[in-house]
Subunit: 390 residues, 4 copies
């Protein structure tokens, strides 16, 4: 049986708090479900909004102990660090510009961090944060959740094992359609902050979803980028950040790639897709149908490998909960990140503890790379799509 | 935003116990994840195996309090009923023949029941259980989990609203391939009890998956069966119960249907599929790709309706957790059954409490119907596929 | 390169005539394109309608020589048999009840016959026709065109080679939606004759499309039928022939099957589909996407075999015209029947000539079997779906 | 009924000849089937190879009259021009570098031309050819065959009618895998000339398939290109022409696009795909499944429009031969080009004759644009992907 034995663990769940994720938010609830799915985490504290009143109301709504329902993350970091039953970890699920100060506060308070992507709103902040993680030695997990889908893990393993041969071409795309019209103008909270440079950083679609596509391509192929050429647009009148990005990639190995990220492509809900082609074969994975992985060894029929089915590899089985044909989805993939975080945090409890070797999660360095990607895209586009290094 | 605000509730989770689901089991872990997903339930007691030693070991493995890690369900029902912090509900996830005695013990102890399908191993037991539920007034939820997928809910709503017109034809199928060879002979626990008449009841594929297909067809269409004609086979030499079932259906309304259930169809992992055709249109839903619902109004292009996307109805949105394009799966569907159970149980706490009108879950009566279906299939097949009423 | 060299042949095309297929007809034009595609046939004569005036007008419209544009098939058979440049073959594309008298006239005139399906409108006629073919020794080709798709040929070859092991289950379906409403009442010619027992015979959907499904299942599996149980309906008020058929099959080998044929299933244009499952693997083929064949060896990933692609067999390549990825369709499949007919006819020119061994086409015996299937379905359904032998 | 009445026409087929397309060729046989499908053309002459001996043998094989089986196109143009029954049109299906001299010879001989793409191997030739077409007034049809698929015609009509609103993004791709290894080194004729700059021109994948993708994008959207940025690679060691092309597009309207063309992408047989997104909706079309067109009006469910089905437009029906659900393919699409050519040629027979207004085919100007695209890609790539105008 695949990983179905995951469940409440003998030693009890890890106590954690949350920054952001209050009323009107999207990703906070996703983190809470993901953290809860395997019984590895228990939410005991929160500062769920930058608005103190909304923070209190949001915490009450989800049943937080009033004593640990904080008005600000600063207050929370300080108070929890002092409690004997204080949180061991914090999930940061705010708009991007808050990631850095919040992560800093908790890391300095000795608390492990699970942080949403992109890492920060500026590359400068990203680098400072990486240094701080290094210095404090705390566990820092970035929720590039798509890397934790079982078939993505398998794709990576297949590349590593050489089944595709030498990689020549990488095609990544991430089209959506929710910003086809000026949604921010209607006051929709998600659209508003995501298209505000002060909260999002320099990238719009590039930062919100382009980073996912880039991260996924790197995760699966292991290729290092040499330079990129980007042509960004903000098609909706008045929009300050890009809503469509065309990017050509040159990898250090000589492989080439393309990324298309768009929020104005009607018909695409959340169309992340990755295709990789090498001298010996190709693979294709589509996020909306995540239990399938197409594999084409050159000169043979296409194979449809299914999660936990015949052909699924140990790397996929390790992060599966139910048998093949019983589809897993977005929340299970997200929960895999939390499951990996739990393993790392439990290992860190021991003196000189290190996570088991098979624990895989996106790190602060992946986050730095992602913010560098966004800023390089913006720089390139401003220079008429000149080739730009990260 | 869809139901993403589901989360820990102010009043705390419902304490529940589990019967069955120990080492080597499949569905027990699924129930535990489903119960945990929305933070509505907390597992505090268990009798996880009919073998006392295995029960203890299994409970220890998942971190049960030793004092509430019972050697038998009888002991558990008795002890929990006496505790001030005793369980409010129990999940019964044993082989079929234990469903009745276990459910009886807990219902009589005043404890709500969530029970796996099929309801019991005999129709006689099923009817006694239905009477007992009626008498005790406790909440009884049968986990025909496929009815809780958002797009199945929408399909049902569309039929109820008349979008398909008068139903003429129902095509349901549930092929699998895991019993293509004699898996029970290898000692595989799942295969062993599912092909043992003493533990499973009269039906093999018919009971294990045919009931799901039949239940789903009835749930979506609301049609009542008049009679059926079944041709059952056990293709694998030595197998005692059917592994392939062909069934023709005649509904009371004049509509007709077919069901194909098989465990010997290579290439099908868990291929539950429902198609319904009426005077005005048709729909198609496939369990392995559950976020999609095909809808074809006669004379118009086919529409692909997506969970939480454009075209998703309130019935679907109500049981969705994440936006469209972020796929939900089997565990989310299963968790919807638990979420409905939680609403019913919370309502039952109040004097004369009734669940809110929009709570939907498979009842003990659905369970009686399911066992009657299995036994009618077996009777029909023994009489050369004679038309047989439930 | 696949069979792309097919083209005008040195010895010139075979002269043929057509009976039926005039204005308002559907399948006549299909036959003409199919006959023309490989340059193997040239249309030189016709009796395109049973109405003499319409026959003349139809022939003029497509450019027939006025001298060979006949008012009736009787006249045509007589006249052409006398001409030194008379037709060598005739295509019969009339409503079903004309097949027998027309075929008789041409066979007795020494002219080869290509005839649309079902063979005749009664089993008695079918048997007489088979005897006549035997007696005359002329080539007789029945256009069960779906057997000539390359991937159907491959499916058959795979079964013959034992790749599926012993066949256990056959699932065939052929849903359409064009008769969901009472189209015949509008005067639509196709609908009118197809739902008229005098022209169609005893079967509606059963005869028009059920025979295709049954023929395809037999062609691919080679199984012999023992008996069937059929439940037929005419859902549209006033319709005289069945528009929906549910059939259970028992093969002589012990294998079981189901056929669903419907003309009232909204969303299905021409949904012929065949699935076969054996002890070693399964296959699936869908007519609307005919260049693909799914193959699942038990315990291995599913393979998508493409026409003329990697994994395509000689049996498929032999009847392919263009490389993989360049989709072939319905007309190419139909043309393969004509290409096989041409090979048989050219072989028959020689004394004691026999077609090459690899020539494959549906014969008059397949036609007898098809009409027997239709009549058995009707008999079974009238006896409450009693098991019935052909 | 859709265009099923197409057939032999009263006035007899158009006599045509062929240049190229002898033994070992691919596209010649395709042209011959396409020309034959609707009975509009009859092949009566040929110069099937640049090698006189192979030309004779090839012509004999397909049954050409020895008197009209020429050793060279020059000879053929001269001789046919003099014959009272000489060819009215010629199909040029040679390697690219022969297109110009051959077309010139026949145009100057007063013979209409159907020519394979790309138009020529150099832009200079292309422009001279365009001038010659203008001067001679003969019909010149370029077989950008993909524009003649019914659903491509419908896509174009939908854009023209404004159903997509203002176009923002165009994504075109054309991956193949047949040159993943060094096929030319094995002596394969197709691979050899296509990767030889002298025969192909400056572009490899760019010229062979990139031009198709670019032409298709322009055909459907009607957008004019402002400039492009291209990054071309020859991944296979020793290959002289590009086998992978990444191109970013800027249209004059402000719309943006990407083209990916590759011959080294394992798993892709002939993966031409076009996606277009506007302010009001999106469409998607895939060549391998050409009977389907996805249409997504923003904020509504996706619609799957099928050729000749509900939702098919007059533009699609006009070039359909069989009803929906009966798939048409590559040859039918190609034949549509010939059918349009026939209408243009018949119209040209009349003094001052012009084709009917609804006749649509790729012209010599489209060909000039295509060769300009190839040369611009090559220029851009040599300048480090600098933005380049055609």
């Amino acid at each position: 049986m695949v990983g179905a034995s995951k469940t409440e663990t003998a030693s009890g769940p890890i106590r954690y708090g949350m920054v952001g994720g209050g009323q009107g938010a999207f990703i906070g609830a996703v983190h809470r479900i993901a953290a809860r799915m395997d019984g590895e985490f228990q939410l005991v504290a929160g500062a769920l909004s930058s608005d103190p009143e909304r923070a209190r109301a949001s915490g009450a709504e989800i049943g937080l102990d009033p004593a640990r329902n904080y008005a600000s993350f600063q207050e929370m970091a300080k108070a929890e660090a002092k409690r004997p039953d204080g949180i061991e970890a914090v999930a940061i699920v705010t708009p991007n510009h808050v990631h850095y100060p919040a992560a800093k506060a908790f890391l300095e308070a000795g608390i492990h961090v699970v942080c949403d992507k992109p890492l920060t709103s500026t590359l400068a902040d990203a680098k400072k944060l990486a240094a701080l993680v290094e210095k404090t030695g705390k566990v820092f997990v970035l929720t590039h959740n798509y890397t934790a889908y079982p078939m993505v893990r398998q794709a990576r393993e297949m590349v590593q094992k050489g089944l595709l041969g030498e990689i020549r071409v990488v095609q990544a795309e991430y089209p959506q359609d929710w910003l086809t019209e000026d949604l921010a103008a209607t006051g929709q909270k998600q659209a508003a902050w995501r298209s505000d440079p002060k909260q999002s950083g320099a990238g719009g679609a590039t930062g919100d979803i382009g980073t996912h596509a880039y991260n996924l391509a790197r995760f699966v192929t292991g290729l290092e980028l040499d330079s990129l050429s980007a042509d960004l647009d903000a098609f909706v009148p008045g929009r300050q950040l890009d809503d469509n990005a065309h990017v050509m990639l040159r990898f250090a190995s000589g492989a080439k790639g393309m990324i298309w990220a768009s929020q104005v492509a009607p018909g695409h809900e959340n169309g992340l897709k990755l295709r990789v082609y090498g001298t010996k074969g190709g693979i294709e994975w589509v996020q909306a149908d995540p239990n399938y992985l197409w594999y084409t060894p050159f000169g043979q029929p296409k194979q449809l490998i299914t999660r936990a089915g015949a052909g699924a590899s140990p790397a996929a089985a390790r992060v599966s909960r139910v048998p093949s044909g019983h589809p897993e989805g977005y929340l299970e993939g997200f929960a895999n990140i939390y499951a990996e975080a739990a393993r790392a945090i439990r290992a860190a409890r021991k003196k000189n503890g290190k996570p088991p070797r098979d624990v895989i999660f996106p790190t602060v360095q992946d986050g730095v790379e992602g913010v560098a990607f966004v800023e390089a895209c913006v720089r390139s586009s401003k220079k008429n799509a000149a080739w730009t290094k990260l």
